[in-house]
């Protein structure tokens, strides 16, 4: 094991290399590019023996991965924003074909207007596709979660594709110290992919096919069941990873200072780090606040959310995206999870950080304060400028 100061993007590249991916198929898009550039360097240097397909679009990138996975190869790709949106058809296809493709997504706002800065609209709008989804807070988590994702996706009781996200620039291009496991450690954790389901010359088989109403529903139900199974398998796999590396990032909803909290904020991605600092600061002032990191968005941690709801009266959800016509996605899913529970805490939606706008400690402090005082609307866009600043030089 080695510690290096690397970007979130390079953490992905290292994870793909350590996972000994066999086929990489990728198309460049800011701010994902350094992931695939680093992988290209690994391949050129002979450090990673993979076939690297320089596809002509993200749609083709995902198709190539799916077809490669059909033959039984371990595959990887990475994208962001518009590229992910272009892949949308194939995201459904990967899940339907039960192809355990692993993909890094650098969360970037969607156009128009063009923006290269971070928010979660791109991956949140893929939540229906049958992909396992992880949102990462640190570069360490990016590397670890990517390795976990390979093992989980390829598990015979799962066989679903998985995406690992990182906030644009905050993680993708910011360097942090990262413990990189050794190849031996990873080989023990993640053996070569073996599947009985591969398409093989010499055997009759058609992957895909077509059906009528009499059979389609059962195939879709299988995806639902596999997604459910993946939740507990994820915990087992993380325990395994901890045995090897000493690190466990705490399952789908790790919590901080929630035991006696009067108000808890649920966060995703790098906003978690800011919120954690604010929790410490407010606790020092005697305010009993806590946070829960929504690390796995799919499968949605209903059980853990309900456990949280049983302990806390006030929950704020910090959404870095918005489902127009409804509310923030995390908020609606948290409320949905809680509805079936006996406990009904008050839940509020704080929409913030859209298009890369900074989520300041001040803003988070105000969110907690609003929660504690039961003040403010159910859905609040935080940090909006109500009177636009005009560039007087413009």
């Amino acid at each position: 094991m080695v510690q290096e100061v690397i970007s979130g993007n390079y953490a992905q590249s290292y994870a793909a290399k350590l996972a000994r991916v066999q086929v990489v198929s990728a198309y460049p898009i800011t701010p994902q590019t350094s992931i695939v550039e680093r992988i290209a360097e690994f391949v050129a240097a002979g450090e990673l023996r993979a076939e690297y397909i320089k596809v002509e679009s993200e749609h083709s990138a995902m198709q190539a991965c799916i077809s490669a996975a059909a033959l039984g190869a371990r595959t990887y790709t990475a994208t962001s924003s518009q590229g992910l949106l272009l892949m949308h058809e194939l995201l459904h296809w990967a899940a339907g074909a039960r192809a355990p493709v692993v993909m890094g997504v650098v969360n970037r706002a969607v156009a128009p207007p063009w923006s290269i800065w971070t928010d979660h609209a791109d991956t949140i709008s893929q939540r229906d596709t049958g992909w396992i989804q992880f949102y990462c807070e640190s570069n360490q988590e990016v590397l670890d979660t990517t390795l976990l994702a390979f093992r989980l996706a390829e598990h015979a009781d799962v066989l679903l594709p998985a995406m690992i996200t990182e906030d644009a620039f905050f993680l993708s291009h910011t360097v942090e110290p990262v413990d990189i496991p050794s190849q031996e450690q990873v080989d023990e954790f993640l053996p070569p992919r073996v599947t009985k389901m591969a398409i093989r010359p010499g055997t009759i088989g058609r992957l895909g096919s077509f059906t009528g109403p009499d059979l389609y529903m059962e195939f879709r139900h299988k995806i639902a069941q596999a997604m459910e199974r993946s939740a507990d398998l994820f915990l087992e796999i993380e325990d395994d990873y901890e045995r090897l590396t000493g690190r466990n990032h705490g399952g789908p909803l790790p919590t901080y200072q929630v035991d006696d909290a009067d108000a808890v904020l649920i966060t995703m991605g790098t906003a978690t780090t800011t919120a954690r600092a604010v929790v410490d600061a407010m606790r020092a002032r005697g305010k009993k606040v806590g946070l829960a990191k929504l690390r796995a968005f799919r499968p949605f941690p209903v059980r853990e959310i309900r456990q949280l709801g049983a302990r806390v009266d006030r929950i704020g959800v910090l959404d870095r995206s918005f489902t127009f016509g409804a509310a923030g996605a995390a908020f609606t899913e948290v409320v949905g999870a809680l509805y079936g529970s006996r406990h009904r805490p008050r839940v509020r939606d704080f929409v913030a950080g859209i298009g890369g706008r900074d989520i300041t400690p001040q803003a988070v402090d105000e969110m907690f304060t609003a929660l504690l005082k039961d003040r403010g609307p159910e859905v609040d866009w935080v940090g909006l400028k109500h009177r636009l600043e005009v560039n007087r030089r413009g």
């Binding site: 190539a64 059909a70 039984g72 058609r206």
Partner: protein, 296 residues
């Protein structure tokens, strides 16, 4: 026992869902006879998606991977990469797509596959329209043809635009091998498949696939109509290998295109003038092909 002029072994099954007299089934049948069992075929949305029969059956004895409509070229590259990464020796990867899925929605992925020089074979079986969805025009529909989206009426005379020259587009990518094949000429078809099988790099087939419901002729005429396409120079049989053009079949005098057009209901509305225009167009293209061949 008299000899067969093409290999006896079948890799396509009966019981498939193709229309009676379907040209596309013969394209697959002849292709697989030539390539043999160590083959994987990837197929986008097209007639063959349905011809292949619904779950749980499959109409070919080699593995088949369904892919998205736009993405055949990418699927081919993915399969090739996986086969190479996993050490699957000598497996031929084949993309098998319709004209719509190749010349229109699939052209980007095809171009990518060719430019990347993926070692595989791409077959465009050309029934000259979006047939699987019920005969809508594609970029490969010939000028003057009736389709449901290019109907014939007061202000419309079938498709006004000429057929997209997919072989020219492919040839511009400098493939290892490209050829036109026609189900009416199976021996020529098989010879070319054998040739392609022995070559490495990106290889392309433009296969004429006559379609009884789409072209409006009775199903027993599929071979006759296909034969006329070549004998009128509408669909010349030729190969491009390392930039060299080689025409495989030249009649002393080509048959008049009117014979081909009159055999099909989709051209039934054409006037003598329109037919003459099409003849002139065919003659120009033939001359150009001869000139390309002469370049050596």
């Amino acid at each position: 026992m008299a000899r067969l002029t093409i290999p006896a072994e079948e890799y396509m099954r009966a019981g498939h869902s193709a229309c009676p007299g379907c040209g596309a089934t013969l394209v697959m049948r002849y292709l697989l006879k030539g390539l043999g069992p160590n083959t994987i075929v990837t197929v986008p949305a097209c007639c063959w998606t349905v011809i292949g029969t619904p779950f749980p059956t499959t109409a070919i004895d080699v593995p088949m991977v369904d892919c998205a409509f736009e993405a055949t070229g990418a699927s081919v590259s993915g399969l090739r990469a996986a086969a190479d990464a996993m050490g699957l020796k000598d497996v031929t990867i084949v993309g098998f797509a319709g004209d719509g899925g190749t010349a229109d929605i699939g052209i980007q992925a095809l171009s990518g596959m060719l430019e990347r020089r993926t070692d595989a074979i791409y077959v465009m079986y050309d029934n000259e329209a979006y047939m699987n969805t019920g005969i809508q025009r594609s970029g490969a529909t010939p000028r003057g043809a009736w389709t449901t989206t290019t109907p014939v009426d007061q202000a419309a005379r079938g498709k006004p635009e000429v057929k997209k020259d997919v072989m020219a587009i492919v040839a511009a990518h400098k493939p290892a091998y490209a050829a036109t094949v026609n189900v009416a000429f199976p021996e020529d078809f098989l010879k070319k498949v054998e040739r392609a099988k022995a070559i490495r790099g990106p290889r392309f087939f433009h296969a004429l696939s006559p379609c009884p419901p789409g072209w409006r002729y009775p199903p027993e005429k599929t071979i006759a109509v296909g034969r006329l396409a070549t004998d009128t120079n509408v669909f010349p049989l030729y190969e491009v290998e390392d930039g060299t053009y080689r025409i495989n079949r030249k009649l002393g005098k080509a048959k008049p295109v009117a014979e081909y057009l009159r055999a099909q209901g989709r051209f039934g509305h054409l006037t003598e003038i329109e037919i003459a225009e099409i003849q002139a167009d065919i003659d120009t293209r033939w001359k150009r092909l001869l000139a390309l061949e002469a370049l050596g």
